[in-house]
Assembly symmetry: C2
Homo-oligomer: 443 residues x 2
């Protein structure tokens, strides 16, 4: 049942399939394939030419309006005027790196760090989540003296060489390196009592650590996306990470919380996904929604970890923490606060999950509904066997697209709908989404 596809290929356009009728679209696809070659990934059975976007909506070249229930980078809403104005204002004033001082940059760093537990008082600004995780892994290695990592089976932590090593979902062939161990996704099972999932996940992590030790590989850490996005979205019960983190720390390793996907309010419970688990990470990494589309990322940790690494290596990031990034990042925090987006994510996310759960009575294809805030996983299963049904998930995704609703897939089988709209998603938007899922499944 394990798909041989990279998770990056889920919901991907397959050029070998039927031709594209629309000449303009066919021409764009041909140009894309000509210049991007084998690295090109386009969404949907028939790709979409997007021309503009606003709030929770995107518009294609024919003027069709799509409800965006997928894109987590424009997290406070596509082209949010407050963020756009901040970018434009700073770009026309000063766009420069951190080797000069600038109040906008220092103020953003102060403000961002204030949202973390006190001991996490240092921030390294980068350009992407990949750069953040790449540095975090090195910080963990130098602090622990180890090299071994434990990750989930369908983890994705970035596109650099180092982060690809800890991203089993990026491997199309071959094996992950010997210093990396995988554990199953933290999925609930029928009959689970309180604490069972947490104990099981910790036992899996413990076994992975034991196997590393047996091979003479000293552990450096456990890195998890705190909402397990690419595994299929696993959020509950809050706190289930704690025993696994205790196990890795007991073995001398560190806990890296990858907040690239859950961070900046999406889980509806504070800015950070890790806070739902009531254990402070050693290192936190950020990316995607940090600048609402402006390329920026960051690593937050304790000062001694950066000091330790910096004894051996210089680290400088030309674009990381540039003045425009800082202005964009501050504007994103402004909007999250002024529009109450964390509370909105909690409220609308709960309504969305309730709506999807209510559909299960009518549609046997609906399996589990999971998530926190506006990060929701919806399993599509075979109505009889209840086994994962990636083909049906794909049909639903493309059916939703024809109804002008955008969503994607996740999980080891590709049968989980990855539902993560902009955080300004309203109750009406959620109701419309549920209605469309209902209609496509009923068709």
């Amino acid at each position: 049942m394990k798909t041989t596809k990279s998770i990056l290929a889920l919901n991907a356009f397959e050029p070998g399939a039927a031709g594209i009728e629309d000449a303009r679209l066919a021409g764009l696809v041909a140009r894309r394939r000509s210049h991007a070659g084998a690295a090109s990934v386009l969404f949907y059975e028939e790709p979409i030419e997007m021309v503009r976007a606003s709030g929770v909506f995107m518009f294609d070249a024919k003027g069709n309006r799509y409800l965006d229930v997928y894109n987590n980078v424009p997290s406070v809403g596509h082209c949010h005027p407050h963020v756009v104005a901040a970018i434009a204002r700073q770009a026309e004033t000063l766009a420069i790196h951190t080797r000069y001082l600038n109040e906008t940059v220092e103020a953003y760093a102060d403000r961002l760090l204030a949202s973390f537990p006190g001991e996490l008082s240092n921030l390294v600004m980068t350009c992407t989540g990949s750069e953040s995780n790449d540095l975090a892994v090195r910080l963990a290695c130098s602090a622990s003296g180890g090299t071994g990592f434990v990750v989930t089976e369908t983890a994705y932590h970035g596109n650099t060489a180092l982060t690809t090593e800890i991203s089993p979902s990026s491997f199309k062939t071959g094996h992950i390196p010997p210093h990396v161990r995988t554990v199953p996704m933290p999925a609930g099972r029928p009959g689970d009592g309180p604490g069972d999932l947490a104990r099981r996940f910790a036992a899996d992590v413990g076994a992975a650590l034991g196997d590393l030790a047996e091979k003479g590989i000293r552990p450096a850490g456990l890195i998890v996306d705190t909402i397990f996005s690419s595994d299929g979205v696993f959020a509950d019960p809050p706190g289930f990470l704690e025993p696994a983190v205790a196990a890795v720390r007991a073995a001398g390793g560190l806990y890296i919380a990858d907040e690239v996907q859950p961070g900046f309010g999406r889980t509806g419970a504070g800015l950070w996904g890790f806070s739902r688990h009531e254990v402070t990470p050693d290192i936190v990494t950020m990316g995607k929604p940090m600048g609402n589309g402006y390329p920026m990322g960051g690593v937050v940790t304790r000062p001694e970890l950066i000091e330790r690494y910096s004894k051996n290596f210089g680290y400088f990031n030309t674009f990381g923490g540039n003045t425009v990034a800082a202005a964009a990042g501050a504007a994103v925090l402004d909007v999250i606060e002024s529009e109450g987006l964390i509370a909105n994510a909690a409220r609308v996310g709960a309504e969305l999950r309730a709506g999807l759960v209510s559909l299960a009575a009518r549609h046997a294809a609906i399996g589990a509904v999971r998530g926190a805030g506006l990060f929701v996983g919806l399993d599509i299963v075979d109505p009889e066997s209840r086994a994962p049904d990636p083909a049906a998930a794909s049909a639903l995704i493309n059916g939703l697209k024809r109804r002008r609703v955008l969503v994607g897939a996740a999980g080891p089988f590709g049968h989980t709908l990855k539902i993560r709209p902009p955080l300004c998603f309203s109750a009406d938007d959620a109701a419309l989404f549920v209605e469309c899922v209902d209609a496509v499944l009923g068709a």
Copy 2:
């Protein structure tokens, strides 16, 4: 004589030195050190708080205007209105990744690729030069089946784990990994005849390849910044790279041209530094000036290299090739063309070098003047022994700063002034710079 400092620490503020009198500046420095910790790098004996910039000028918080003879990211001029307008327009219209199609993105890819030799027909868009080189190294490894790399002794190719391995200048302690071999910078010597430097550099590369072979390490490639910036700027004679590239290819390796610093017109001879050497690279990487400050980078290569890598691994870059990056990149190409910046770099660069050479008659501290276009290296030496004098270079850099002129240091000894102003630098700007160097050295 080899400095133990990382090249990243050249011209760096040393907090242990004399206190900062200005209270506002002292406060900013304290905040920076508190949140950025050991990773913080600030320029100058006393850092500068910058507040705005325009064209070739930057302005500090007290209203002082500085002539920028250093910053190569805002390459078409600080806050160029055409680039700023393109960023603002696209950011308010659509800021999204490449899994949807968009004409702005496809048109930029077509236009950029048209500037390369025909066989280099694929482009992977990234966010930074580091991400570009990180991918390029993997492409070279998968295409060659090797892992060994040859780099220069003071090379810098990025801040990811993989690119740090091939960046000897980032190592403060310890040794570069066993699969990496270094060769001396391609410096001319007194008495060199035509072809001597090229033969010597190729012989060094050949010896490094031989040493790799002896240890059973199959070569993957030679990666060089085509103007050898961090080595101290080595541009001449044009074509000197050709025999070294032939040697690496004969050994089964590839040639990666790192255009992060010389690219986009700076050398005054076309868009790319490699073209001065009349040998087509297997892979070209781009970064810094690509978006005039907007974080973007790219890898250009032959389709089969991407195809080969993509058989084993998925690669997707969330921010790479986003619509705003494409708009920024296209605007940069517009300005390079409409303002004739390549010809300007050639003309003003030649005047600048001539002016500096003419100073040598009056100032024995001036050693060699090297470069191409607006990328110039100026060696500062002991007047008697002619040995590298990093302390005098540092004094000159800080003296120039007091005269409101910004410049930095490079090279294994830190005695080379790294001169790389925005490409709109005028003959008057060049004359002013020469005049200030004259004044500081005469003081």
